[in-house]
Structures are given as C-alpha cells and as structure tokens.
C-alpha cells in the first residue's frame, strides 16, 4: 500500500481537530495501565516488558494534540510509575514528560489515525523512551546500564503491535462531538 505525503501530513484545520475524552477515561485508563504493569507480571512474567503506561501516554498526547496536556499526562503517569518502582521519583516522570510533549507535537503534524503510522510511532516512542531512561540512569544516577539495541527494537515492535490494538480500543472511548 502506498501512503503518500498528502495522507501522512496534516494541512487543514479540520485535520488537526483534537479528540476529547471524558474525565473518567483520563483517570481510569492510565490507572488500569499501571495496575496491569504491577499485577499481571505476577502470573505472566514476560508481560513485564509491556509498557502500557507509555502506550497510554503516547495515545492521549497524540489524540489531544496539546503539548502541555501531553507533557502533563506524561509527568503524572511517570511519577505514578516511579512511586511504584524502586527508582527515585522523577526518572520515569522526566522520561514520560518528554515523550508526552514530543508525541503531542508529532500529533499536530501527522495523521495519527492510520494504523501504519501508529505502528511506527509506537516503535519509535518505545525506543526513544528506553533511550531517555538509559541516559538519565547513567547521567543522573550514575548507574552502569547497558543499552541493548537489538532487544529494545524487538520489544519496541511488540509494544507497537499492542499499541495499535489498544489505540483502536481507546478510539471507542473518544467523546463524540
């Protein structure tokens, strides 16, 4: 399938229309994502590699197309994630703040309703998220972590596939205008 620039880039005011969500969706969906991350790996350990909080952050940032909204959602989700981790508060917070901001900025320019774009963005944001976290761990905490590119790409692809499915489900929770 050929997907031309005209379909990828947004030009008109109609194209850049933001999506709206009900308040409970904005609260419960990130909470469910965090709950999934802390509870499900107890039974299925391989699912620990699924970054649902990241996927949810990217989704809301892309759909709302508001950089400030995106970074705030990222900061809150990230800090909640930090609270439940053994890391100092702020590691996931800073990472997801940047991700939320960049995702919202990308959402202003790209047609993020197309599954292929969503797949690529899912992969890109996962790798970007891992990279920022790795940089912060080394620079701010002095931890000697390795950045495993191949592993990150594979996990990124798996997360992207899940993201496309989840985005499709979350689209149904959009407020109709």
């Amino acid at each position: 399938m050929r997907y031309s620039d005209e379909h990828v880039l947004l030009h008109t005011q109609r194209d850049t229309r933001t999506s709206r969500f009900k308040g409970w969706v904005l609260v419960l969906v990130p909470l469910a994502a965090i709950l999934f991350q802390v509870y499900i790996p107890l039974f299925f350990q391989f699912l620990a590699y699924l970054e649902l909080p990241l996927i949810v952050t990217v989704y809301f940032a892309l759909m709302r197309r508001s950089p400030i909204g995106g970074l705030l959602v990222g900061a809150i989700v990230g800090l909640a994630q930090d609270s439940l981790s053994k890391n100092p508060l702020g590691m996931f917070g800073i990472t997801k703040t940047i991700i939320g901001y960049v995702a919202a900025s990308v959402g202003l320019r790209l047609d993020v309703d197309h599954p292929m774009i969503r797949l690529i963005l899912g992969l890109f944001f996962f790798v970007f998220h891992q990279f920022i976290f790795w940089v912060l761990s080394r620079v701010l905490l002095g931890q000697q972590m390795n950045f495993e590119t191949q592993r990150t790409l594979v996990l990124g692809l798996l997360n992207a596939i899940v993201a496309v499915s989840l985005f499709h489900f979350l689209d149904k929770l959009k407020q109709r205008t």
């Binding site: 909470l31 965090i34 709950l35 991350q37 802390v38 509870y39 790996p41 107890l42 620990a48 590699y49 970054e51 909080p53 950089p67 400030i68 970074l71 705030l72 900061a75 800090l79 909640a80 994630q81 930090d82 609270s83 439940l84 981790s85 053994k86 890391n87 100092p88 508060l89 702020g90 590691m91 996931f92 917070g93 800073i94 703040t97 940047i98 901001y101 701010l140 905490l141």
Partner: protein, 420 residues
Amino acid sequence: MDTLLNRYRNITVLLLVIFAQLILLAYQVKNDKDVRLIRLAAVTAVTPLARAIETVRGGTDGFLQNYVLLRDARSENGHLRSELGKLKLENQFLRTELGTADRAKALGAFEARSPSKMIAARVIATATGASASAVFVDRGSTSGVEKGMAVVTPDGIVGKVLAAYPTASQVLLATDPGFAAGVVSQKNHVHGILKGQGHGNCHVDYVQNEEKVETGEWFYTSGDDRIFPKGMQVGQVTAARAGNPFQEITVDPIGLANGVEEVLIVLAGIHQEIPDFKTAAQPMYLAPAVPGTAKEAQAVSTSGPNGTPALTTDADKITARYREVGEEQGHKFGENPPGSRPADFNLEPKMGEKDGAVVKPRAAGETPVSGAANGGRQGGPSTMKPPAPASPSPASTKPAPGVSPSHPKAASPAQANPPQ
C-alpha cells in the same frame, strides 16, 4: 513580553516541569531521602485495587475449579439425589479451600518452629519497570512492618523490605542488583556478601581465592548485615571458581526457586546456629593382613595389662604409672576424702621388682630413670618439666617385630612383656 511567553509557552512549561522533577530527583539523591508523600499516594491508590483483584481472582479460580469438579461429579453420580450433590459440592469446595490454605499452613508451621517473630504476607503486585526485582506484599506499617526487615520463606531468604506503607510494603528481592546480605558457607564457614545480579542467580562476593568453597555447598545468612538473622538458608553453590581479586561464586537462591506467592516478614529476628555439615558415613575397604604378621601385630597391639591395647602416648604411660603406684598403696582415685593422706608417687611401682629393679624411696632431687615407667623421660610427676632429650636404652630403641621403628616406645620391656 506576554507575546514572547505565549509564543514559547509550550516549551516553557516543558522546561519548568522537567526542572521541577530534576530538583525532586536531586533532593532524593543528595539527601538519600524519599519523597514519601507521593509514593504513599500512589501505593495507597494502587495496592488496594491489586489486593481486590487478587481476591476476586482467587475466588473465581476456586469457583471455576469447583464448577468443573461439580460437572464431573454430576456425570459420574447422576443418579444421586440433589441434596447429596450439594453436600458433595460443599465438601469439594472445602477441600479446595483447604488445598489453597496448605501453603499458608506450611508458613504457619515454619513460623511456629522458628524462634524469630514473623508475620505472613502475600505478594499482590510487582514493582514497575521491566528489570525491577521488587514486589509489593499486603502487609504494611500498620502490621508492624518496617523498612529494612528481612523477608523469608521456609525454604530460604527472599529479600528485604525496601519501604513500608500503611497497607502494603515494597520488598527488594534477593536477585536485584541492589540487594546485599552477609552469608557464610556451611562446610568451611567462609564469609562473603550475597549480591543479586538482576536475573535468576546471585553472586557471593569478597571471598578470597585461598578459601575453600565447593559446588553444591550451602550458604546461610551470617547475621553480619543486621537484617537477616544468622542461620537462615540462602542457597546452594552452583559454580565456584578463582577470580580476580575474589572468587566468583554463583548461588541459586532457594527462597525464590519456585516463585514467590506467600512470604514471612521477620519482625524480630533471633540468630540460630548454622547446621553442622555432615558427611555421609561411607564404608571403607580394608585389605586383609599380610599372612604371618597378623599375630605379631596383635601381640603388640594388645601388649597392655589384661590384653588391653598398648599405651601410645607419654601421658597414657604417666597416668598408668600413677594408677599402678596408687593401687599398690591402696589409693583410690577420685574416692579418697579431702584431708586423707595422699599416695607417695615417688615410689617406684613393684612391677619393677619383677624386672629386677630395686624399689626404694627416691631421694630429694633424684629423678626417676625407669624407661618402662615414664617412657624414658626425666622429670617427676610434681614438676611436670618439659622432657629433656635422653639417650634411650638399647632395649627401648630396638623395635619389636612388626612394630614400626617410628614408635619405639611401644616396644619397651614393660609392654613387650606384660605381667602374667
């Protein structure tokens, strides 16, 4: 100015939020303190939900199992009346409940057996982050849990409490790279530090290459870390090899071997002894004696009075001499009342008369010379001087047949010719 702020509003907010979080991060790292309020809010929001989900899951699991069993019971016992079926269902349900309580019972038994004060807890969530080796348990500060407490199972250690919140606690597992505990090996009592590696196995560090650690050996907690009480099982050595500068010892943590579901938090630890290492008593093959030498060897080995084994050490010979002298004078060792006249140990035993020696009281300053009595050494019994080198008599230096020359004393006249 307003226009400028409006123009760069997004990036300004981004920088402000990142800067605020950097300050938060710097505060925690520099002061080694946690911002408890934020964590408390998140844990309080999430862990009750996790606990509720876990309860629902357990109930659903039990219901499904019972339902399946009920279907089986119906198919097998269709002719039974409905009331009987209900009773069976109830019975089955109770059995399932009993089965699920088995682990808790085992924990309870261990809790009662162990001298340490413990509290049982259930794992309700894992920590966020793919590489994190930490879990949440459903006991918190309201149950008396505090940061730094040890977490164990009847099999072995699990980890330690990283943070205690009112309704839950975060436990750092022994496999986490940030975990460390003092350990000691069972067999050779080699001390080291157990460290997590981020995956299934742990590493015992700071063990010198000269110290002996064998594969298959068990490590126990040493109590040095003031977290784990001494004497708790840690794991078995899976690999031990020399390294630079310390040995590279890999330990398989037994407490985490079968996954962690129920654990015990040690509220007040009591040190225990490390169990002794027991080697299996294996039968040892002894080849038959050389023909012709067996009798001679027996003659020497039973050359003592009444066929008792020959005396081998100087102490044995001195003791035998005192006993002999005491018996001749009617002295009973250990029975004479205080103040009674002690035996005169300066007298030579009468056995010497048989050998032609003259028994007489020893003059002051005279030292006994009888090689049979004291092994040819000088020094009276009261002086207990260190033995001076003396030239042994030819009789004592000549080894008896079948006796090694390295033990010439065994061939002394008194032993070679036992009293008839």
